[in-house]
Symmetry: C2
Subunit: 419 residues, 2 copies
C-alpha cells in the first residue's frame, strides 16, 4: 500500500542544475544542512528553486524535497513544525518519494528530544489547553472537524463510517472487517449482554451504538455534539429499525444523566482536554451502576506532550493526546478500577493506510468539493498520522475499567480471544 504515493513533478520546479560542491553552498544551503544534521542526517535531499541541492554527506537520499522560493524556505526554517505542512498544503513544497517515510524520518530524528517534561512545556500545555474545551469551545472545535460534510468522510472511511482505529485480527482483514472486529473487541471487553444499558460519550456517526444494539441486544443512549453526525446516525437508526433501542442525543458528555451498566467512549477523549479529565471521571462514576464497567479508547502518547502544533491549528483544534499516566487522572480521583489496558498503535497505522489509499483514489472528488490546498492538507494529515503511529510518536490505548466494588469481573481475558 502506498509504496510510493508521492512522485509528482511540477514544471516550475527546476531540476537541471548540478549539485553544488560544499564550497559553493549558499546561506540557505548551510541552514538546511544544519536542519538535516539536527534531524540525525536522514536520507533526504532538498532541491532549491535555484537548483541547489542539499543532502547529508555521503548519503544516497531516497526522498527529495523541492522548495519553490526563498520566502517559503525562510518560513520553514523559522517554524518548521507549522510552516513545513503549510508550505506543503499551499503547493510551495513538493515531495518526491514516500510521504509517510519522510515524516517518519523526521519524527525519528526528533525523538531524541522527547521525554523531557520541563516546567516550560507543562506551562505551555496548560496555557494552550485551558478554557479551550468549555461547553461552547468544544462545540466550536468539534464543528470545525466533524461538520465539514458527511459525504466527504464517506469517500474514504468505508461503510461503517467509523472514524477511529480499527482492530485487525490478522493483517489480511479489510477495513470494514477490521472496524467490525474493533466493535466486537470493545463489546467483549465490556462483557456486553442482552438488555444491558449503555451510555456512549462521543458516538461519531453511530456505528458502535448501532452495533451494540443489533448484535448484542443492548439499549444505548449515545451523545455527540456534532450536528451533522447526529443527523446521519439517526437516519441510520431509522433505516435499521433500531430507533427504539438506540437514542442519539445531540449534547455534551458533561450533560449525561441516568445510570447505566456500561460506559463507552471511542475516540472522544482526544477532544476532552486534560483539564477536564477529573470531571469526566465524575461523570463516569455517577453514570455507572454498582457492577458497571466501561471502556475509553483514545489516541495517546508515551509521555505528556502537546499534539503536533499544525494538527491542532488546521485539523483538530483543542485536541490533546494524553499519556497513560494522564489518563489515570480520569479514573484515580473517582476511585474507578482499571482492569485492562491494550496499546494497539500499529492497528491505527494499518487503519490509516487503508483510509489514505481510499482518500487518494477520491482526491479528484475532494478537489471539486473543496480546493487543492484542502486536498493536500488532508493528505498530509493522514500520511503524517501513519508516521506518528509507526514511529511510536502516537499510541492508541483502550482502557477497561469498573467500579471499585465490582467483583463480577472475568478471571482471565481468554473470553476476548475465543472465536
Amino acid at each position: 500500500m502506498n509504496a510510493n504515493p508521492e512522485s509528482e513533478s511540477f514544471s516550475d520546479f527546476p531540476d537541471a542544475a548540478p549539485a553544488p560542491g560544499r564550497t559553493r553552498r549558499s546561506l540557505e544551503g548551510r541552514l538546511l544542512r544544519r536542519l538535516l544534521s539536527d534531524l540525525g542526517d536522514p536520507p533526504v535531499e532538498f532541491v532549491l528553486w535555484s537548483g541547489e541541492r542539499i543532502a547529508p554527506d555521503g548519503a544516497a537520499p531516497g526522498i527529495k524535497i523541492r522548495i519553490a522560493d526563498r520566502i517559503t524556505l525562510f518560513r520553514v526554517l523559522r517554524d518548521p513544525q507549522v510552516q513545513f505542512p503549510e508550505a506543503y498544503s499551499a503547493g510551495k513544497l513538493e515531495i518526491e518519494g514516500d510521504l509517510v517515510e519522510l515524516i517518519a524520518l523526521i519524527y525519528r530524528g526528533m525523538a531524541k528530544d522527547e521525554g523531557r517534561d520541563s516546567f516550560g512545556s507543562r506551562l505551555a500545555r496548560w496555557f494552550r489547553s485551558t478554557r479551550r474545551n468549555t461547553l461552547a469551545g468544544s462545540r466550536r472545535n468539534i464543528h470545525h472537524h466533524y461538520d465539514i460534510g458527511n459525504e466527504f468522510y464517506a469517500m474514504w472511511l468505508g461503510e461503517t463510517m467509523a472514524y477511529t482505529c480499527a482492530y485487525y485480527p490478522t493483517l489480511a482483514a479489510t477495513l470494514e472487517q477490521a472496524q467490525i472486529a474493533k466493535m466486537d473487541h470493545v463489546c467483549r471487553k465490556l462483557q456486553l449482554q442482552p438488555g444491558d444499558s449503555v451510555v456512549e460519550a462521543g458516538c461519531g456517526w453511530g456505528s458502535l451504538a448501532l452495533h451494540m444494539a443489533s448484535r448484542y441486544g443492548a439499549r444505548v443512549r449515545a451523545f455527540n455534539i456534532s450536528h451533522e453526525q447526529i443527523a446521519f446516525a439517526r437516519e441510520r437508526a431509522r433505516q435499521q429499525q433500531l430507533q427504539d433501542r438506540v437514542e442519539f442525543i445531540q449534547d455534551d458528555y458533561r450533560n449525561i444523566s441516568g445510570r447505566y451498566d456500561v460506559f463507552a467512549s471511542v475516540g472522544m477523549l482526544e477532544h476532552v482536554g486534560h483539564e477536564n479529565y477529573a470531571q469526566l471521571g465524575r461523570v463516569i462514576r455517577r453514570s455507572l451502576c454498582s457492577a458497571g464497567r466501561g471502556l475509553i479508547h483514545s489516541i495517546g502518547r508515551n509521555h505528556p506532550g502537546l499534539l503536533h502544533p499544525w494538527i491542532t491549528r488546521r485539523i483538530f483544534p483543542g485536541a490533546y493526546a494524553p499519556s497513560l499516566g494522564e489518563m489515570m487522572q480520569i479514573f484515580e480521583p473517582s476511585g474507578l478500577s482499571v482492569l485492562d489496558v491494550e496499546n494497539i498503535r500499529l492497528h491505527y497505522a494499518l487503519t490509516l493506510r487503508h483510509w489514505l489509499d481510499r482518500y487518494r483514489a477520491a482526491e479528484d472528488r475532494v478537489r471539486r468539493m473543496f480546493d487543492e490546498t484542502f486536498v493536500r492538507m488532508w493528505r498530509l494529515y493522514l500520511a503524517g498520522s501513519i508516521a506518528g503511529f509507526e514511529t511510536g510518536t502516537l499510541q492508541l490505548f483502550q482502557v477497561v475499567f469498573t467500579t471499585r466494588e465490582n467483583n463480577h469481573i472475568p478471571l482471565t481475558r481468554q473470553h476476548l480471544y475465543s472465536t
Copy 2:
C-alpha cells in the same frame, strides 16, 4: 476455603452478661458505637471484658470481637489501624467468625474516604518514603521480611516457593499449577524465545528465572539483595543443573549492568519506593536492547495512598503499592512504551487463600519456630491481604512495555491464550 477459620474461645473472655440496653451504655460502649457508625454499621458485635456488648442497632452480627481489657480498648480507639492488629497479635483481642470477612467489612467501611488526595496525604507519602529505600535502607528492609527463614516460607508457599500472585486459568487450579501458569503467562507476555537474554530484578527464591531457563531456553541474570533467597536459589540452580544458564547475583537492581532482550520484575516494585521510579526507568532503558521488552508485576492501588500503616510497621518496612498513574513515572520519563496492563487482583485473593490454608495447617510448627504473637501477626497479615484484594483496596498490575522504536510487537494478544 476458610469459611470460618476463626472460632477460638479463650476462657478469660467473659460471655455471660446480657447485652445492656442503650441507657446503660458505658463511655467505652458509646465510643465503640461511634466507631461502628463511622464504618457504616457493619454486622459486628464488640464484647467487652465487662460483658457489655456493642453492636449496630437492629443488626444481627455474625462476627464478634472480644476485647480483653480497658487499656487495649483505649489503644484501639486512639489508633485503630495500628492498634487493632497489635492487640490481635498480642492475643488481647479475639475474633469469633471469619477474620477475612471482618477485615473486608472494615475496608468497605473505610472506602468512602478513599480517592481524596490532599496535600497532607501527599506530604505524608513523601515524608514516609523519602530516604527509606537507599541502597542500605533497601537491604535492611528486605532483610526484615525475606531473611526470616526459608524453612518458614517453605511451609506455606508450596513447591515453587513463588511469593507473588499466582495466575488461575480456572478456579480449580492448585496453587502449584497457578504459580506455574503465572510464570508461563509472564513468559508469553514477554514473547520469550530460546537464546533470549533476560535480566530479572528481584528474583525471590529464583522460581521464575529457573522456569525461563528450563522451559524457554533463556539465559537469565537474576538480582536480589536477600542473602537467604539468593543462597536458596543458587542451590536450586545446582540441583537443576542450570548454573550455566541462570546466574543469581546478590546485588541491588540499581547496579544492573549490560544489555538484555528482556527485563522482568515480579513483586519487587513494592520495595522500590515511588521516589525511585524514574531511576528504575533509567535502569530499564539502559538495560534493554533496541527491540527489548519488559514486564513489571506489582501490587497496586486504584489511587495514590500509603499501604496500611501496620503492614509497613510490622510486615513490610519501606513498602509502597503505587497507583497505575504512579507506575507510569517509571516508563514515561524514559520514553518506554506501555503495551499491555492486566489487573489480576482476584488472583491474588485466590493465591492468598491457598497460602492461608497451608499457613494455618502449619501454625504449630510456626509457633515452635517463633512464638504465639508471630503466629497471630502473620495470620492477620495473610487474612488482611485477602480482604484487601477482595474489596479492591489493593490491585495487582502486570505491565508489559517495550522500547519506543520497537515495531516487532504482536498484533494481538491472542498468543497469550492459545494453549
